[in-house]
């Protein structure tokens, strides 16, 4: 008896599917609400939710001569590759979305991009930096610049600002983003300053807590600065431990530093250091400033770059939908029209800078270098354009 009850309950859960209203535009979000990086998913969801409320409170999105309400469907991909695939398929087939925003990390964006490309659904990843995500995939776009661009930005800035002749790098071996960026940086720095100018090139594991062995080696090599292309949680540990070991020189970081949580974890140790990123929250002007203030008022913290990039990515999708000049109601045709519109956007004025797409679907846009000031804010220092 009890067994059949359990069976019935399971079946009931499996079959419970929500119903949809007409005259809406559905956009899917394939984001990590649980798993390793839930904060990233949360930022994406909050930014998108803010945009949806904006548009819907004004009556909806005008496409051609019809106005549609927006419906955003947030699906959790658990920060797992296989889950990103099923999530993408679910959004494409069950929810019949017009376009997908996400996934954010490359581990998921690469396989999900394959699924979207195979099923001819436009997808835009706000945050993924792996070239494979968009390579030879006409249906896949991204809103963030690539690592091969960010590496030279760090090299040029450090050379100019720190008058650096030598550098040291500490990076996360099992994080493809960190490793890729470290290698690009090393190649570019050595091209500029001669072989051997990167005096220490040390790696660590993702779950490591103690970096003293690597840092002792680095400090002994006496570099002009240390480049740390790591996630913010490790940055906090590395910077603190380096200071304890007697390091007083500058650090240079990458966009993975730019999380709302960095200052909570790192405190005074991170102040005065620089990193390259997508946008600067402090000292922002115009639309960027407005976005930051509204986000802060609504959710209680300064939006990080994922929030800003999701905002831009979603607006690009909406822009592309408007550029189609009218939806037919035929899902395949509309998706195709949106893809074509997205690929032919001339210039998009986003809050993370002006951008347009190259033939691979990667954006051509500027990076900014920010300084962490004494209040712990990320202050705009310099803009570097390709």
């Amino acid at each position: 008896m009890r067994r059949s009850w359990i069976l019935a309950a399971t079946l009931g859960l499996a079959l419970a599917a929500p119903a949809w209203a007409a005259d809406t535009i559905k956009i899917g979000f394939n984001i990590p609400l649980t798993g390793d990086i839930p904060k990233v998913g949360e930022s994406s969801k909050y930014a998108a939710e803010m945009l949806r409320e904006d548009v819907n409170s004004k009556g909806g999105l005008k496409v051609g001569d019809k106005t549609y309400k927006l419906e955003f469907i947030y699906e959790d991909n658990e920060s797992k590759a296989e889950s990103a695939v099923t999530t993408a398929l679910k959004l494409i087939e069950q929810d019949e979305v017009l376009a997908i925003v996400g996934p954010n990390s490359s581990k998921q964006a690469v396989p999900a991009g394959q699924v979207c490309d195979d099923n001819e659904t436009p997808m835009i990843s706000p945050w993924s930096t792996n070239p494979d995500t968009t390579k030879d995939r006409p249906w896949v776009f991204r809103a963030a610049f690539l690592d091969p661009f960010q590496g030279p930005v760090a090299v040029d800035f450090a050379t100019k600002t720190f008058q650096a002749k030598t550098a040291a790098v500490i990076y996360d071996l099992s994080n493809d983003y960190s490793k890729g960026l470290a290698e690009i940086f090393k190649a570019d720095f050595e091209k500029k300053h001669g072989a051997g100018s990167v005096v220490a090139f040390e790696s660590h594991g993702t779950k490591d807590q103690d970096f003293s062995a690597q840092l002792t080696k680095i400090i002994a090599a006496k570099p002009d600065f240390i480049f740390v292309p790591d996630n913010y949680n490790q940055v906090a540990l590395i910077v603190k431990q380096a200071h304890n070991l007697g390091w007083t020189g500058p650090f240079m970081g990458s966009d993975a530093w730019g999380s709302a949580e960095l200052m909570e974890l790192c405190g005074d140790d991170c102040k005065g250091h620089y990193f390259s990123t997508h946008y600067a929250a402090a000292g922002a002007t115009g639309a960027t400033k407005e976005f930051i203030e509204r986000y802060k008022a609504k959710y209680g913290y300064t939006p990080d770059d994922v929030a800003a990039l999701t905002w831009d990515a979603t607006r690009i999708v909406l822009q592309a939908i408007q550029d189609t000049g009218g939806l037919t109601g035929d899902l395949d045709k509309d998706r195709k029209a949106i893809r074509d519109a997205m690929a032919s956007i001339k210039e998009f004025d986003g809050i993370t800078g002006k951008m347009r797409f190259d033939e691979q679907g990667d954006p051509i846009k500027c990076a900014v270098v920010v300084k962490i000031n004494d209040q712990g804010e990320f202050v705009f220092t310099e803009s570097v354009c390709p």
């Binding site: 959790d76 581990k107 071996l173």
Partner: protein
């Protein structure tokens, strides 16, 4: 519950003395029927690709949980490095597949005509399984001298060894991951337009269950259960325990490698991060959910677990409170798992009429 069916001649242990024609052919017939249904489903589009993908992951999970059950359930050891063996299988079969049947940036043009993937695919999955079986020696040899908690730690270490090795191999992408398997799958589809991945996932799941059942209930394989009961006694009773352990560990990890190979070709992308300790934990959860030492339990729990994770999607973040809570409740009220050392036929004796379970 335990009433014996009256229509069949019954041995003391509850199984029929000789299989009837019905018992003999029921499983092959069911398998063929299953394949036919999947073929129809794939060709007619009766189920969306999403549902098909869920079915494929279900099959992969069946292989993972059933193969881990051999070690954790039947042999009574505690292995928690199953993800590592999946990684070996996934990487070996992926690299082989791309090398042989697909054009790639790193490996250049395919060594064989892509149409041969049709025949080659099951072979590369099996080769991946073989490689994983060899990796299983990493755990099997230390198991001669250690047991229980100590062996469990060694299995975790084995998992980490594999993941770190892959992360440091830049030829296959390192932590960036490896892709191109979709081209192999597409080559199969071009050669003959059938839902190949669906068919092979199902086929390999059936193959796994068949081989495990044959092994566990064979005279030779009974040694595995003997080790579980009492290793010293088994040794005295002339069971070569070392050889038995090697066989069990290699079979178990080899099948995990097969699951990994399928997984890689379904997702179309592999990344060492996908086969970490989390994956091993999932495998463990499925084994204990289904019940140790029960093949039908493993199948049930793998299907249930996959369905549950998909069905609870609307709950979003709360899903990861609900799923572990369900596990705790299950362990509280039914610590032996869904079936626990019993097969489906012990719970529903009527099923014996159709199939011999042991």
């Amino acid at each position: 519950m335990s009433s014996q069916p009256t229509s069949v001649a019954v041995r003391p242990d509850g199984t029929a003395a000789r299989p009837t024609a019905f018992q003999r052919w029921s499983v092959p017939a069911l398998t063929l029927a299953g394949l036919a249904v999947l073929l129809w489903v794939g060709q007619s589009g009766a189920l969306t690709k999403y549902t098909q993908t869920v079915i494929m992951f279900m099959a992969v999970n069946v292989i993972v949980s059933a193969s881990l059950n051999l070690v954790n359930g039947y042999m009574g050891e505690f292995s928690c490095g199953h993800g590592g063996f999946m990684a070996v299988g996934a990487y070996v079969s992926s690299v082989l597949g791309v090398l042989l049947f697909a054009k790639d940036r790193v490996f250049g043009p395919p060594l064989l005509p892509p149409e041969w993937a049709l025949v080659g695919f099951p072979l590369i999955v099996l080769v991946g399984g073989l490689a994983a079986a060899l990796a299983g020696l990493l755990v099997a040899i230390p198991s001669f001298r250690t047991r229980g908690d100590y062996l469990a730690i060694i299995t975790i270490a084995a998992n980490y060894i594999v993941i770190s090795a892959v992360e440091n191999l830049d030829v296959i992408g390192g932590s960036r991951g490896f892709m191109g398997m979709k081209r192999v799958v597409k080559a199969m589809g071009r050669a003959w337009d059938l839902p190949w991945m669906l068919l092979w996932s199902f086929g390999f799941a059936v193959f796994t269950l068949w081989i495990l059942r044959r092994f566990v209930y064979s005279t030779y394989g009974k040694g595995v259960m003997a080790i579980c009961q009492d290793e010293v006694a088994a040794e005295i009773m002339s069971v070569n325990t070392n050889r038995m352990k090697v066989a069990a560990f290699m079979l178990s990890s080899g099948l995990a490698g097969v699951a990994g190979g399928l997984f890689a070709h379904i997702v179309g992308y592999v990344n060492p991060g996908s086969f970490g300790i989390l994956k091993s934990t999932e495998a463990l959860v499925m084994v204990y959910l289904g019940g140790m030492g029960s093949l039908s339990g493993s199948v049930l729990s793998a299907v249930l677990f996959t369905l549950l994770l998909e069905a609870l999607r609307p709950l979003q973040i709360i899903k990861w409170i609900v799923v572990p809570l369900l596990l705790i409740l299950l362990m509280q009220f039914r610590p032996e798992g869904i079936l626990g050392n019993r097969e489906l036929a012990d719970v529903f004796p009527g099923l014996r009429r159709f199939f011999r379970f042991k």
